[in-house]
Amino acid sequence: MPGNSVLELKNITKSYFGNTVLKGINLSVKPGEIHAVVGENGAGKSTLMNLIFGMPVIHETGGFEGEIFMDGQAVKIDSPRQAMELGIGMVHQEFMLIPGFTVMENIKLNREPTKPNPVSKILGPSMETLDYQAMSHDSKTALEKLGLEIDESAYVSRLPVGYMQFVEIAREIDKKNARLIVFDEPTAVLAESEAEHLIAAMKRLAEQGIAILFITHRLDEVMACSDTITILRDGELVKTLVRKETSVEQIAELMVGRKVERGHLPPRSVEPSDDDIILELKDLTVEMPGERVRGLDLKVRRGEILGIGGLAGQGKVGIANGVMGLYPATGEVIIDGKALKLNDPKAALDARMAFVSEDRRGVGLLLDESVAVNIVLSSVEAQNKFLRRTIIPGVRLLDQKAVREYAMKIIKDLDIRCTGPNQPVRRLSGGNQQKVCLARAFSLQPEILWVSEPTRGIDIGAKQLVLDLLVQFNREYGMTIIMTSSELNELRRICDRIALVYRGKVAGILKPDASDVDFGLMISGKQPVKEVG
């Protein structure tokens, strides 16, 4: 009975530049229903939400196929404004609140009730004075619906973080026609007890007949409140389940499950083991916004490829950035028994470590400089390579001939497709840019190579080449590689062990051939069935 649903999506397909991110999604939400949407990063959750909320990014990239129905009526949602008019509200992951405004000013932002005055009769409604009484009254009502007791005239900047989310929700339900509210990972920034309150508030709203779409990756929260659960994987709807008939294990397996093609990797003369630890992290914390590491311990075996996996925001990306001194870190990092000086990129480089950043364009490259400069500059700065003496003692200049020769060689070795060492890297494709990043790190001749998201944003053919290169570095040059990736699949393809990070700590270490259930549970913070040493 389609008329029974507040929102119904039929056969939604969306692609970005030929890359399909949503395939034939069908989904419906009834009034008063809490519908959870779960999936790994890149499963298509946020695209789906952007589409429902009419975000410009969807239309700027060519729109989508399929139909959206509200109350059985086909609707078009081309802008957030239209979505709002249709009664769709959105609670954002980051707070959309103005700190210098009061709670009620935020709740009524740009929807303030006003009173006419003599000036406004001449100059138009935008000169009407604000009706503070009505604003206060409306805000109180909305806050009460949530069961929240705060002074609506308090400044948001003085509220505890946990309250801000509630003010956001109050703003959405204050919209007179609010019927469907989308919660986009609302508990990501909340403490556990705050999250419980939020869940309670969601239930309360559902009881009042508002439909809720709840996007999350926290499986216990899903089990705690949702009526229906939809699982997305690689842009496809895997299954829609009724909560009462399922289990955390089932959801976890469905979230991760896919075939792993682990090719044959060349053997080593000595296999890495716990007897030979090259690097140890003790109680490491890293203040990287959005990817915080909170007291993590990890041991890395000499000569292995260690994978670091986990969901976005859990801190896996922060580890390498902290160890390499790019973000403030505390704790201990011990390399071959010697403590590393933290928060000093030079010290990290001097300890024979190199880093290929996840942020290729932001950290990895000088986009307007040539391929050659990009490859050698770190070596020049950190290791005084590629410099020649001049007649003035102490003054050394870049040895352009040596740079050129070296660049030519490495371009050939790594098969970087470019017109020559002088081409600016901005002109290269993503895959080739990534190879330049790898070449930059390789030129430092590191013993430990940190690689973050090496295949992000590059096409499939190039992905395989990059992974092959890493295996080659590991097997031929004996580099210990620590590879961070959001794609479990690629970690399982080349790593010896995979550490899964949850809430800034290592939740456990798994063999690449461990079961999907184990992986699914561990990335969601659930205790695994068994751990591998």
Partner: protein
């Protein structure tokens, strides 16, 4: 339904503790810091200069009337997050263009002044609109852009009144123009509208020994009322939202660029009127220089009054004018008395004006940086 009510007690203590507002006192002191410092400086200067208090008071009254309107016109762009509007000189130029027209038409007295105010509106709206367009392309760099824009507009202004008038723009008026028949003279006498506003109302009523420009103070009072009313309107609220966070304002459906344009246009019109009030009080004007220092002096004044790049009130403006101009009057004499060199006082004055702006800008940048850093930490 017995869900627990969410009150500060039910939340973990760590977060609930933040609600305390112990910083309030510190905040007020921080705001008063600058004006207090300058008040002390003024007092020292007054003592050092050994000025006749009557002369001083009289000077201050004149200067309050002359400058307050201009300084008040800076408030609205600050609210809209555009910072201190260095482009105010463009408003001043628009006002002067109107003055040139009425002087040419030989319409004097209050009607002439009011006509100039009317004529300046379309000029200021157009130049303000153009200023806004440029500033919208330079988000985050509005002040330096507005500042340079002032110089640029000055070039265009000179091109019009020094080269084009008498060539492309037909005009002949030997009294106002250079002997070559091209371009305006360097100074234009404003006898016709001299003190036209100052003396428009109750000009014979004195307050004790002092002559008060009642009508001018009325205009300033009206502008104060308008400014405080404006912040309570729908448009004013939108401006505050844009000023606090452009992104969030845009997400809530506010047309950010449009609001910024309006703020600059209002400020430009007010600046034009402010310059008219200023010039009718002075009585003559330097065709090519009168506007040049307007921006700097107004901005220095409002900063001395305790405003910052992101916060400015009517009181900041008025107190600032009072303090800045007291210093202005006092410092050359103090310099004369202390060191025997009057220029020391003059240079000290400009040193203060430049210095206060530099310090205010530096403090603002510093705080923004710290705030951003602490936000990242959260």
């Amino acid at each position: 339904m017995n869900e627990p009510k969410i009150t500060p007690q039910t939340l973990p203590e760590k977060t609930a503790g933040q609600v305390k507002t112990g910083k309030k006192f510190e905040g007020i002191m921080g705001e008063l810091y600058v004006p207090l410092f300058f008040a002390v400086l003024c007092l020292l200067g007054i003592v050092a200069a050994g000025l006749n208090p009557r002369f001083l008071l009289n000077e201050i009254i004149i200067r309050l009337a002359r400058n307050s309107f201009l300084v008040l016109s800076l408030i609205i762009p600050v609210i809209a997050g555009l910072g201190l509007n260095f482009g105010i000189v463009i408003g001043a130029m628009s006002g002067q263009a109107a003055l040139i027209i009425i002087t040419h038409l030989e319409i004097g007295g209050l009607p002439g002044f009011l006509l100039a105010a009317l004529i300046s509106v379309p000029f200021a709206l157009i130049t303000g609109y153009l200023t806004g367009l440029v500033l919208n392309r330079a988000k985050g760099r509005e002040m330096v852009t507005g500042y340079i824009l002032g110089f640029f507009a000055n070039g265009v202004y000179q091109l019009i009144f020094l080269v084009l008038v008498g060539t492309l723009i037909p005009m002949s008026n030997p009294k106002m123009m250079l002997s070559s028949g091209i371009g305006l003279r360097n100074t234009i006498d404003l006898i016709a509208i001299n003190k036209a506003l100052d003396n428009a109302l109750l000009s014979s009523v004195r307050l004790g020994a002092f002559k008060i420009p009642w009508a001018t103070f009325l205009a300033i009072g009206l502008l104060c009322l308008f400014t405080s009313y404006f912040t309570k309107t729908k448009l004013g609220q939108q401006m505050r939202a844009v000023g606090q966070d452009r992104h969030i304002a845009a997400v809530s459906g506010i047309n950010v660029d449009r609001i910024r344009l309006i703020a600059i246009m209002i400020s430009t019109v007010l600046g034009a009127w402010g310059q008219l009030i200023y010039l009718q009080n002075i009585g003559t004007f330097n065709t090519y220089n009168s506007h040049e220092q307007v921006g700097m002096f107004s901005i220095a004044a409002i900063l001395i009054g305790g405003a910052s790049i992101s916060k400015a009130t009517i009181w900041n403006a008025l107190v600032g004018v009072l303090l800045f101009h007291t210093l202005f009057v006092v410092s050359p004499l103090a310099g004369q008395r202390i060191l025997g060199i009057p220029q020391v006082g003059e240079y000290f004055r400009s040193f203060l004006a430049y210095g206060i702006i530099a310090v205010a800008l530096a403090l603002h940048a510093w705080q923004t940086k710290k705030k951003a850093a602490s936000r990242e930490k959260e």
